[in-house]
Amino acid sequence: MIALGSATLAAALLVALFAGGAAVYGALSRDRRWVDASRRAVYALAALLTTAVVLLESAFLRDDFSFEVVAEHSSTTTPTFYKLTAMWSSQEGSLLLWGWVLSLAASAVLYLTRRRHRELAPWATGVLMVVGSFFIGLMIFAAPPFQELRPAPAEGAGLTPLLRNPYMVIHPPMLYSGYVLLSIPFAFMIAALITRRVDASWIRVTRRFALAAWLFLGLGLLLGSRWSYEELGWGGYWGWDPVENAALMPWLVTTAFIHSVMVQERRGMLKVWNVSLIAMAFLLALLGTFLVRSGILQSIHAFGASTVGGPLLVLIAILAVGSAALIVSRLADLRPERRIESALSREAIFLVNNLLLVGLAAVIFWGTFFPLIAEFFTGTRSSLGGPWFDRYVTPIGVALVLFTGIGPLLAWGRLSAEAAKGLLLWPSMAAGAAAVVLAFSTDAADSPWALFLFAFAAFTLVALAQEFWRAGIARRALTGEALPAAMAGAIARNRRRYGGYIVHAGIAILLVGIAASSSFQTNRDLRLDVGESAQVGDYEVTYERLAADPQSERVAFIATLDVRRDGEQFALLAPARNYYPTQNPMAGPIGRYFEGEATSEIGLRSGASEDFWAAFQPDLSVLDDDIARGNRQLADLPPDAQGIAILALAERYAQNPPPATFRVIVNPLVMWLWIGALVSLAGALLALWPSAEARRRARAAYAARVGREVRARA
């Protein structure tokens, strides 16, 4: 099986090289047969890599520990669900995932363009296959997933307990898919520059891929921050960790790109900017992969020294220099067709929002790489903490909320001051009212930035509601439908626009959640005995009891926290801590059950106004003497008897536990972060969904082209 896997990868490398070579040769010689052959080779590549993925996943499912990757990342006791995901907890498996998704995306885009854009597709194939061959090359020469372990061990090391989390199933593949999908617009951009076809056609071909990349990256970020929110010591939903930042930067730049390409499509402007943005986004995506895999920056996602960092950096350097040189050589072709006429135009606002988004990405880039920059200039590593990031990110975020509302109001070209006044009236009044009400009825004024953000969010939400309203009124005048039906009809006719507006509304809601929860959070460490209570904000917290839950794969201690508000029960939380046995012989037969990995299960009560979050850390040091005695006396007993001893130990501890430490967080409005994110994702899906109108147009265009070709041949 291992030989078959290696052979599949070798074949995939040859096929990828052939596909790239044939595409470029076909483009240069204008021979369509070569181009067709290259496209079919890409399909074959997708089939080969799918085979490789199936082979590796089946090895995980069969517990085939002759595969080194399987032995190191899975075990017979790993639940089946996590065996499937163990693939991408390994470096080798993540590379395979990268290559596989790339081959699927490349096949999809080439299938969609098989009869269109014949000038761009071959060059794009060339670019994609360079990247593809590189990743397959890594899997053959640097980090082979099909490496044999001889002799095969009877048991594997297992998946680290901290990664045994449902989020592990979906968070990494989403991020990787987002990263990989960015390669499609990047490749078509390069193709457009090479062929000097720098009109908006490369943008139109890859628009859905850019949106899908944005959606997947966003989903990956969302799932990652939700996971982090539910873990103890990961810094809440966002900690400015280098690896988090690495995923946020391409997402921000892609957001800018999605906006600025509209300016090029509509107005023929910002061409240099657009090609630079997508180049930046893709390079940042590769850099993200590099950061995760190289361990060059101190991160909670430290994956250790890896063998693929160097080659990846070389690829990034080559692509960066190549794209920059290509853009410079085509500057004359990229001249704008128009100039911005007025500051009160959509293109002007888009430009400002682009500058803000790219500025935000630049700040995060600087902060993330600062340890390396500082080491270069001063010789010592220094790092920047959350407060430094917040100082820059907060004002930019506040400004961005305002622009998510202003952008949709303004028309292309220019808007009269009179019309602008009419459009801005209600949103501005909403913003003013929100600011006054919040300043007087809550303590929001303690944090001026948060107050600004709330006011601007009110502006944006009312502005967007007004747009939906106006669309409905206009359609009602046209069709005579009832207003709700007219509104739905207007949305259905222009999903791209109204999907976008829904995304904007979601982002405004999300930022309200972030501002409220980061500015007005109450954070306490409590040390409580069983039966003892403490006051946290409006809540009275009582440590009711402790229970032990020993199982074969872990020993869990579960605390019961009674949370009361104004004397009434608000929640009964059960934060727990799980202890997984270690394989380390130094820990002793009993000690190994308590000195291995430990994970926390938080207790969480979510509400629309605030979340109550609690984590539990028991103090096991009172068991030290018993464990030491057990290690000495019970060493020769069979595992069953040791198991009974551990059960007894855990039970005794639970009946009379020493004081435990609780971390309690009251997080206002944090639920709106998740709600806003889901609203945004729904909007993005709506924008992505092909409308009946677009399908009809595409079919008609295709029929017309076939007709032309048939006539031309006849």
Binding site: A157, L163, G304, G367, S382, S383, G385, D525
Partner: protein
């Protein structure tokens, strides 16, 4: 004013604004950052400034007392340990022998860490550690 001249002025203004903002970024980052040190560096210099102390938790030194945690951090190569006192969240992967980063100041020979500043490396790394470190060898059962 003719449009070409106007554009030039606008460009100069925009560029100067960008340069100003970039300088602010550079300046604040150098003044707000904390430098990383290993225990041996701190012992040698005795400096009382704020640092990120990085190293490994010395096995058998972790002690809990009321609100605070005491443990020793040694250089990554295992030499020169420094005692640390810490309050706040203890991340799940925190254990003997693990690589940690903690921010704080050296006072009277003890590194007093800031509240909640303890970071423990993610366990995906342990595979490599196990290969390098004989204490973490995985036993084939």
């Amino acid at each position: 004013m003719d449009p070409a001249k106007k554009r030039k002025i606008r460009l100069v203004v925009a560029l100067s604004a960008a340069v100003l903002l970039a300088s602010a970024l550079v300046y604040t980052s150098f003044s707000a950052s904390t430098e990383a040190r290993e225990p041996s560096d701190l012992i040698a210099s005795g400096s009382g400034d704020t640092y990120d102390l990085t190293g490994k938790v010395v096995p058998g030194t972790v002690q809990r007392s009321d609100e605070s945690l005491r443990f020793d951090i040694a250089d990554r190569d295992g030499s020169d340990a420094l005692p640390v006192t810490y309050t706040g969240t203890v991340p799940d992967p925190f254990r003997d022998g693990r690589e940690v980063i903690v921010t704080g100041k050296l006072t009277d020979g003890v590194f007093v860490a800031e509240h909640d500043s303890l970071i423990t490396k993610c366990p995906s790394k342990f595979q490599e550690e196990a290969e390098k470190d004989p204490e973490h060898v995985i036993i084939e059962e």
